[in-house]
Amino acid sequence: MSAVLSVPTLAQAAIGQAHRVKALQAPAHAPEWKQMLEELGFVAGEHVAVLARAMPGADPLVVRIGQSTFALRRAEAACVELEHTSTGGLTAAAGTGPAGTGAAHA
């Protein structure tokens, strides 16, 4: 899936990999999502990482944004474009926790 898209988004980020937000791109059917996400702290330059994904369909996701934790649906996470390079791993979160293993490559 990530091969099709040139810009990586939060929806495809590997669990426990820290990134920085590059920009927000709301879908045409829900332009208000951009502002909503900004208010929650999804602003350019902020640190972000996926912590977990729920079971059927990897939806919704648990996301760490700066110091806070949010639940986002897959489509919402897909609005968050990331800088190409990861800024490293989230401390210990890339380990072998039950939520961190199976879904990481979904």
Binding site: A18, H29, A30, W33, Q35, M36, L37, E39, L40, G41, V43, A44, G45, E46, H47, V48, A49, L51, A52, A54, M55, P56, G57, D59, P60, V62, R64, G66, Q67, S68, T69, F70, A71, L72, R73, A75, E76, T87, L90, T91, A92, A93, G97, P98, A99, G100, A103
Partner: protein, 620 residues
């Protein structure tokens, strides 16, 4: 707020607490005001107007408003709008605050600072309470309050609302006259850059590493274990509601009986004694007896809410709720509806999307509210044998669980139909929900919440329920039986005629005229149906029967199909008037309450008809 009618503002300066959701604002409010607070109507989770009084260090009394939590000053939900309107001085019947205490969560500075800057731009004097400072410190986030204050241009007080740290400093700060004068207003449109600068200056531009909460979440949000835990928790909750409440309910029953005897001995035989003993004491006692169950249910909900588990439950249920066109957010109002639909309906104010909110309001009454417990308890006690099944599970508890489950399933079905057959239902709506860190529930906050709910329930007993119980007593006492009448007196009363009239409507679903009669006051508030049955039966009974309690009486005079049919009726039971009134106020018209009443009545009738006929066919 809109429903506020008092426009004369009490003297004294007004302080308002503003902050993000989950920033510990309500805990700070509880600390500042103690028990000196007034909650208008039903308290949801800060969706209601909470006002209190605070004493400054110098002994000055101030009014304090706890404004609903908001992420920004661009309101998307009704409760966020309240905050915005009050800050702008636009809220009807509400004075514009003289000073804002902006509560910032020290563990989430970036997001909290965005709100602070827009609040400061409103041009009101501001001070900052940097809350949850202890939690931040434990996570290695040390905020230099002096420096932050200098960068923001307002005083910053470090507070830990949960253990009272910094509260005295805040009280002292409020005595300084210069705090009440307006400071500088930040320029427009530079917030992101400014916040980045502030966070860099403070050395806080980092990503939060793994938290203890994350470890808990590995288990709680686990795709398989998480839902199992949720199901176990809910099942345990309902078992506890029945098992733990048994003893205190016995005491209340004994107390009511004793009071009735005392009053009966004091008063002369006649209408007055009948009114006091059969109407007043029996009526109030019959409802008060369910207070323990309601408090236990609220206790669990408050604990789950305080600990931070509720949003996790919403996360786990998001797919399921999404499949019927709702989001996990609807879970919290729906769970509150298990206690009472009114706080549930009010809690829907935090659902930003109007369509989701409306659907949640419509299905909230299908969640089995505690007012239905008295009816269930009576019928289950009378018809379901006390038996232990495998694993120590009680049969009566299991039946109760099934009834709750039936309500949930039908709510899902209604929501699914609305998703499938309406245009708005097919659109996609966002989840975007914060998962706050877990913390141990604080006894103080749980106690305050529990007291507020108990007060509300007792007020209902004192008001609506009492009035209707008395009205029913009048209906069932007058006119008295004619000379030489053979049947019990109530058959000749107004109530007797009314009940028989209704019985023609309800006969196809197996209700006798006593039940039909009890349903009338039961519409006003469902728990009254029990005390109404008590009144109808204790008055219609003659001789030895009068002394018997209601339980064995209905067990011997009703058939099993009738009991099942009545249980089914109460799963859907058309709304109590207070709920209808709440829906009317929240939706601003009669259309939605009328639709709700109509569809619930149809569902209840259909379900009871099916239950009655199927169980009669099975049992013969």
């Amino acid at each position: 707020m809109r429903e506020s009618v008092v426009h004369i503002h009490p003297a004294g300066p007004l302080l308002a607490l503003v902050g993000n959701p989950n920033c510990g604002k309500t805990a700070l409010f509880n600390r500042l005001t103690g028990s000196r607070q007034k909650v208008a109507n039903y308290a949801g989770v800060t969706v209601e107007r909470k006002e209190g009084r605070l004493k400054t260090a110098a002994g000055k009394l101030l009014r304090v408003l706890d404004l609903p939590g908001t992420y920004s000053l661009y309101p998307r939900s009704p409760d966020e709008r309240v905050t915005v309107d009050v800050l702008a001085g636009r809220a009807q019947g509400e004075k514009r605050p003289d000073l804002i205490v902006c509560v910032l969560d020290a563990t989430n500075l970036r997001r909290n600072l965005r709100l602070f800057l827009s609040v400061q731009r409103q041009g009101l004097p501001c001070v900052v309470a940097l809350n949850m400072a202890d939690l931040a410190q434990r996570r290695g986030i040390v905020v230099d309050t002096e420096k932050l204050g200098a960068l923001l241009g307002v005083p910053v007080i470090r507070t830990v609302a949960t253990d009272g740290e910094g509260i005295d400093d805040l009280r002292a700060l409020l005595d300084e006259p210069e705090r009440w004068r307006q400071g500088s207003v930040p320029p427009e449109g530079e917030d992101t850059a400014r916040i980045n600068h502030i966070l860099k200056e403070l050395g806080l531009d980092t990503l939060q590493g793994e938290l203890p909460s994350d470890k808990v979440d590995r288990f709680v949000l686990h795709p398989v274990l998480g839902p199992i835990l949720l199901a176990v928790l809910l099942f345990f909750l309902f078992q506890a509601v029945f098992a733990w409440a048994e003893a205190p309910m016995g005491w209340i029953e004994a107390g009511t009986a004793w009071l009735g005897e005392q009053a009966g001995a004091l008063l002369p035989e006649g209408h007055l004694r009948s009114l006091v003993v059969d109407g007043l004491i029996a009526g109030v006692g019959g409802v008060l007896v369910f207070l323990p169950q309601i408090l236990i249910l609220f206790f669990f909900i408050l604990i789950l809410e305080e600990s931070g588990y509720l949003p996790r439950a919403a996360f786990l249920l998001d797919r399921l709720m999404g499949s019927v066109g709702l989001s996990g957010r609807s879970f919290i109002p729906l769970l509150s509806s298990f206690a009472c639909a009114i706080p549930g309906i009010m809690a829907t104010r935090s659902i930003a999307n109007p369509r989701d909110r409306l659907v949640t309001i419509l299905i909230a009454p299908l969640m089995t509210c505690s007012a239905r417990l008295p009816v269930y308890a009576l019928l289950i006690g009378a018809f379901i044998p006390r038996r232990e099944l495998w694993g120590g599970i009680e049969l009566q508890g299991l039946v109760l669980f099934v009834l709750y489950f039936a309500g949930i399933i039908s709510a899902m079905a209604v929501a699914w139909l609305l998703k499938r057959f309406t245009d708005a239902g097919r659109q996609v709506r966002p989840l975007m929900m914060e998962l706050p860190s877990y913390h141990w529930p604080h006894a103080r906050n749980v106690a305050i919440g529990l007291l507020q709910r108990a007060e509300i329930f007792i007020k209902r007993v004192g008001g609506v329920i009492l009035a209707l119980t008395l009205l029913l007593w009048v209906l069932s006492t007058f006119p008295g039986a004619p000379e030489g009448a053979t049947g019990p007196a109530i058959e000749y009363s107004f109530a007797g005629y009314l009940g028989r009239g209704l019985a023609t409507i309800f006969e196809p679903i197996g209700f006798n005229w006593q039940i039909s009669l009890a349903l009338v006051p039961g519409m006003a508030a469902r728990e009254i149906a029990v005390s109404a049955l008590g009144t109808v039966y204790s008055l219609s009974a003659t001789g030895d029967e009068a002394a018997q309690a209601l339980t064995p009486l209905i067990a011997s005079t009703w058939g099993l199909p009738t009991a099942f049919s009545l249980l089914a009726w109460f799963v859907f039971a058309p709304q109590c008037l207070s709920t209808i009134a709440a829906v009317k106020r929240e939706t601003g018209g009669y259309k939605i309450p009328a639709i709700m009443l109509g569809y619930l009545f149809a569902l209840a009738y259909a379900a009871s008809w099916l239950t009655f006929h199927i169980s009669r066919w099975l049992l013969t």
